[in-house]
C-alpha cells in the first residue's frame, strides 16, 4: 500500500475530518471483507468498535496544535488512515473497542486493558510501530516488539482479547 497521497497532505491534518477519510477507508474495509472474511448481512448489527474508533479518530485529527502544552500535533491523516487499515486487518466483529490516546508526534497509541491482559500498539508513523503485550498471569513485565507492514504478530493477542470479551 502506498501512503504517499496521505503524506503529501500532512500539513492540513488539523482540518481533516473523518468524513474525508471515510470513502477510502470504506473501500479498504470492503476489499478486506470480500477477500478474507464472510460478508456481513445488512441485517447484522454494526461492529461496535468501527463506529467508536471512527468517531475517536476524527476527534483526534481535530485536536488543536499544542494540545499537550508542549507543541503536540493532532493525529495526522497518514497515521489516521494507517490506524484504520491496521485495525480493519486484525480486529474481528467481537473485538473490544480500544482506547485511542494521542501522541505529541501526531501518532496514536491504541490500548486494550481487559482482565489480566494489557495490549498496546503505538503508531508513531507507518514505518515506526511499537507493540507491548503483558498478561499478568504469565509474564508480569510484558514483552515488546516492533512491526511495520506485517500485522501477523498482532493476531494472537487480538484473538485472546476477543475470546475474553
Amino acid at each position: 500500500m502506498n501512503y504517499d497521497c496521505f503524506a503529501s497532505d500532512e500539513s492540513s491534518s488539523s482540518s481533516a475530518t473523518w468524513r474525508q477519510l471515510r470513502p477510502g477507508i470504506a473501500t479498504l474495509q470492503s476489499d478486506f471483507n470480500s477477500r478474507r472474511r464472510p460478508r456481513r448481512l445488512l441485517t447484522e448489527e454494526p461492529v461496535q468498535w468501527e463506529e467508536a474508533v471512527g468517531t475517536r479518530i476524527a476527534h483526534l485529527m481535530n485536536l488543536p496544535s499544542g494540545w499537550d502544552g508542549y507543541g503536540g500535533r493532532p493525529l495526522t491523516r497518514l497515521n489516521a488512515y494507517f490506524t484504520v487499515k491496521m485495525l480493519a486487518s486484525v480486529c474481528g466483529p467481537k473485538t473490544i473497542t480500544p482506547s485511542l490516546v494521542p501522541l505529541p508526534s501526531g501518532g496514536v497509541q491504541i490500548e486494550w486493558h481487559h482482565g489480566t491482559v494489557d495490549f498496546e500498539i503505538t503508531i508513531h508513523s507507518p514505518s515506526r510501530i511499537e507493540v507491548f503485550l503483558c498478561d499478568e498471569n504469565t509474564d508480569k513485565d510484558g514483552k515488546e516488539w516492533s512491526i511495520s507492514s506485517d500485522f501477523s504478530s498482532l493476531l494472537p493477542p487480538m484473538k485472546k482479547l476477543s475470546e475474553n470479551a
Binding site: 483526534l60 485536536l63 488543536p64 494540545w67 499537550d68 502544552g69 508542549y70 507543541g71 503536540g72 500535533r73 482506547s99 490516546v101 494521542p102 501522541l103 505529541p104 508526534s105 501526531g106 501518532g107 497509541q109 490500548e111 486493558h113 498496546e120 503505538t122 508513531h124 508513523s125 511499537e130 507493540v131 507491548f132 503483558c134 513485565d141 510484558g142 515488546e144
Partner: protein, 156 residues
Amino acid sequence: MPPALPQRDSNGFALPHDHPEIANEDLLIRRISIIAAKESVVPAKSGGQRLSSAIFTASSKNEQDPYEGLSIDIESVAHELGLDPAAFMKTDQFLGAVGLTTERFRNETLKVGYDPQPDNECHGQVWGNPSPKKRKRLMRHCSWYIEISGVMLQDT
C-alpha cells in the same frame, strides 16, 4: 545557580546531552495540559480513569524538534530562580503534573538535559525515545506533583 547552558545547534535547538549538574535526586516534572487530562486517559481496571503511558512519548523529529525530546521541567531550577514550582507548573493551560526523579530516567538509559526557553527557564528535555516497557516503568514509578481529581496514575 541554574545548570550551565547547553550547547545548541545552528538553529538554536539544544543538542541532546546528559547534564552533569542535574542531580539524580532532582525531581523532573511532566505537566499535563487540560486537553491531555481528558484525552490521555484510559479506563482503569479498577474503574475510573488512569493516565496512559503515552504521556512519556517524545515528540516526533520535525522542524520544531529535530532531536525528538520529551519536555520536562526541573524542580530544582525553579527553586534556584526563587519560583514556587507548584504555582509555576499550574497555569491556565495545565491542570496537573507528574514527577519522577532524574535517576529513574537515567536508569532507563535516557539522557536528561537542560534546555531553558524564553518563556520557561526551568525547561529541560529527556532524550532517547523510551520504549513501551520503559514508558510503563516510568509510569509505575511516577507520582502526582499536582494531582488531577478523578484520574489515577496506576492500576491498583
